[in-house]
Symmetry: C2
Subunit: 471 residues, 2 copies
């Protein structure tokens, strides 16, 4: 049973993407350009991601806080690079009562400034360090070309902000956060990623170093999944975040910030889903198992299902569908919505004391006896997660092509692959390549560059870099 | 050990309130007037409230969604009463790039309008009803006089919005939601409340009926804890939310909305806390038990504490403080922060295989053997919750004074009590009373009013009403 409203990926990948979002009822467009209504199915994915990241962050002793939506424009203007990076995207606020607002406010596009203000109020001495604060919120940026999840006027994210006594400790935190993200994205979202530092041109406005996770979508375009920044002392200097050192002097803190946003939901969709709709990793799926009642309203069936739900419901996120819709309708619905496993229960299954176990990824159907179900599930979850990851990883690995000249580079990029090349990294060269090919430096691969030549300029290379077209 | 920065309630209740907030590190003022930095201790209380309400709402089959911060001003203007109610409080948005914004936007002061738009997009027929959607978000309203938690320019809340086929069903939902709030506020927050309908003058802008929970603070002022509104078909008509009925006609839906906000944290503080700092109900406290190590860094102690933490940590939210601060410092800290139970562990306790169990509410200290601990905890939790509730309830009940003339009314209000009186309820009369006494109608008590006379006008009474000064 195929949902006819879902466009085939081969026909038009962009239309497929929006049709999956619509049919899976994740979001709807809202009236203000670039904003969305998150429907229950869409928001539940984000809540699932939030719950898991909260758990991982708690292990690092991160505390959640909540800072204001509005920032004084005057405060925003203090860190030069930051301002220049965000100025074109800012929303500013005025009241409807003329003159009542004492000064212009901006709607936060990110919260480095508020965090600096909190740090300043909370940090007195080295004893108070490190401080690790995170917030879940939405941020707003004017965007010209908007697409659901991928580029929104308002989007949701978590932003982790930390303050440290030393550069060394802050850099370690930057990399540790990156590692937490990598494990989460690979293990929970089944998305293999390239990990590395961003080039100067792609760096976060105001950061000294930006590290990124880059995934590859099914259409050959890269997607930035998460970033982790070492901010140095730039913000701390601009906002006067100092502390008393062990030897009774004063120094400004070293900061990091890092974030993962609702953009990752777009990445999830484009990594795994197919022409039948959404495919979600088991670990993150809001509904992990749907028990589908084939003949509803029969007492024996109801009891059977009740026990099944009770057994599985303690361990997994389970729903029961005993509506009077047809089996075909139901299986199609959960397929479109990306529920990993459907357990069909009808007269046959009850007589044989079993369920029909249907996997979303492979569409495999097997009969499993109730006694073997728990064990089968454990294995099936592992296989399912591994299958999603391996499929995506094979795509990623086979897409990377080493390139040493510009013609080959253009060919690789036009074939929707990732070009790995030695490069003389300057902002100018990056801009030129983007202009000519649409490709951008996704991240730097750690490697020696001695005696290596830039594929583009023929000059000595400074870095080994992954280039791709990207969302 | 008393925290000297906490003002006595008797000295100045308002200063006591802000000193508790500051010393318990709940929030700090942020630079934009009326906005706050929620610090970890403050935000954790809200997360704890959120988690519990999410659980209660899930039982009603409510789904969480997330709708935009920005609403088109043109859309906002469609429901007349709603607009009039909120117009003076609106923040409007413009970009910094002149002319780029196609139309004026408002920052949501509440989301009835967005929910109508979602309902319109999701509801086709009676089969789709009822729809029960909730969102956790912040809303912004220009406020002149702001106070932490009680009145903020930006505050956090949940807003539940539902759509139904019939008035009867919608009214039932309004009351059911009110009941969920009442149980939550009384059982989890230990705050006894007066429950009833709001008068016309106090009704939500655009609603047909508003129901409220009103608690009494330690200074004799009332505080609105939560509201539940039957919106009728006003919004549905203005925003064209129709559905196909069973007999193939079209009708507009009946709606409800309801919310509880971070204001309740202010209510929590003023209900239970004392001159030593915060007192939090056990069920809602982010940290329920603090294990205080008296002599840190001793291997036997560490093991003892580790086992204790492991045993309790499965069931309760437990922290261990094995820092090298003094016992006095530690106990003071958790007292100020409102941790319900502290378990002190030192050499003595380890030798006797026990803990010193210290209750925040009564400050009782008892030695409890490890074997008896689980049972003691179960009892102590019940007693602790009951003690907070009963103390607050005694205050509430003894504050209610029946009043049948205006002189008595003024005396009661000036004595910081609640006046219960038969009243000829008109907007004009309510406004006059507020002007003369500062008291407002908190809610209507259900009662017959036949042959009853208004305490104020001497005319026949229309309602029996609780009046009080309120936050």
């Amino acid at each position: 049973m195929k949902n006819k409203n879902i466009i085939a990926r081969q026909t038009n990948f962009a239309d497929w993407y929006t049709s999956v979002i619509k049919e899976a009822k994740l979001v709807e467009y809202a009236p203000v350009k670039g904003t969305m209504f998150f429907l229950p199915n869409g928001w539940a994915i984000w809540e699932s991601i939030r719950n898991e990241i909260d758990k991982q962050f708690a292990k690092m002793n991160v505390k959640n806080v909540q800072l204001p939506l509005f920032i004084r424009q005057a405060d925003f203007l203090k860190e030069k690079e930051h301002v220049e990076g965000f100025a074109p995207e800012l929303f500013t606020v005025s009241t409807n009562k003329k003159g009542e607002l004492a000064e212009p406010l901006v709607v936060r596009p990110t919260s480095e400034i508020s965090f600096c203000q909190v740090f300043k109020s909370q940090i007195r001495s080295f004893n108070d360090l490190p401080v690790l604060y995170n917030q879940w919120c939405s941020v707003c940026r004017c965007e010209k070309n908007t697409r659901p999840f991928l580029r929104n006027t308002e989007f949701h994210w978590q932003e982790l902000h930390t303050a440290h006594a030393t550069k060394d400790e802050a850099v370690k935190q930057t990399l540790k956060t990156l590692e937490v993200y990598k494990n989460f994205v690979e293990d929970y979202l089944c998305m293999p990623v390239l990990v590395g530092e961003k080039t100067v041109n792609e760096r976060f406005a105001g950061a000294e170093n930006t590290y990124t996770l880059e995934a590859l979508m099914q259409d050959g375009q890269a997607l930035q999944c998460a970033t982790s920044h070492y901010l140095g002392q730039n913000f701390a200097r601009a906002y006067d975040v100092k502390y008393q050192t062990r030897d009774n002097k004063f120094d400004v803190v070293h900061q990091t910030s890092a974030g993962i946003s609702t953009r990752i939901i777009g990445g999830l969709i484009m990594s795994h889903s197919d022409d039948n709709g959404l495919i979600l990793p088991f670990k993150i799926a809001p509904t992990q198992i749907a028990i589908i009642v084939v003949n509803a309203n029969d007492k024996a069936t109801n009891n059977y299902v009740k026990i099944l739900k009770k057994t599985l419901g303690d361990k997994y996120r389970v729903i029961v569908d005993d509506s009077d819709k047809s089996f075909g309708f139901k299986i199609n619905k959960y397929q479109v919505q990306g529920v990993p496993f459907c357990l069909a229960v009808g007269t046959q299954e009850i007589e044989a004391n079993e369920v029909t176990f249907i996997r979303r990824d492979s569409n495999d159907k097997v009969k499993i006896g109730l006694k073997a179900l728990a064990k089968h599930l454990t294995t099936a979850i592992k296989e399912y997660q591994a299958n999603l990851y391996n499929t995506a990883n094979n795509r990623l690995q086979s897409s990377i092509v080493e390139v040493d000249n510009f013609n080959k580079f253009k060919e690789v990029i036009n074939n929707k692959k990732i070009a790995l090349c030695y490069f003389d990294d300057t902002i100018e060269n990056e801009k030129k390549i983007k202009e000519l090919t649409g490709a951008t430096a996704r991240c730097i691969k750690q490697a020696g560059v001695k005696d290596k030549t830039c594929f583009y300029t023929g000059k000595p290379a400074t870095h080994l870099i992954y280039f791709a077209r990207a969302y």
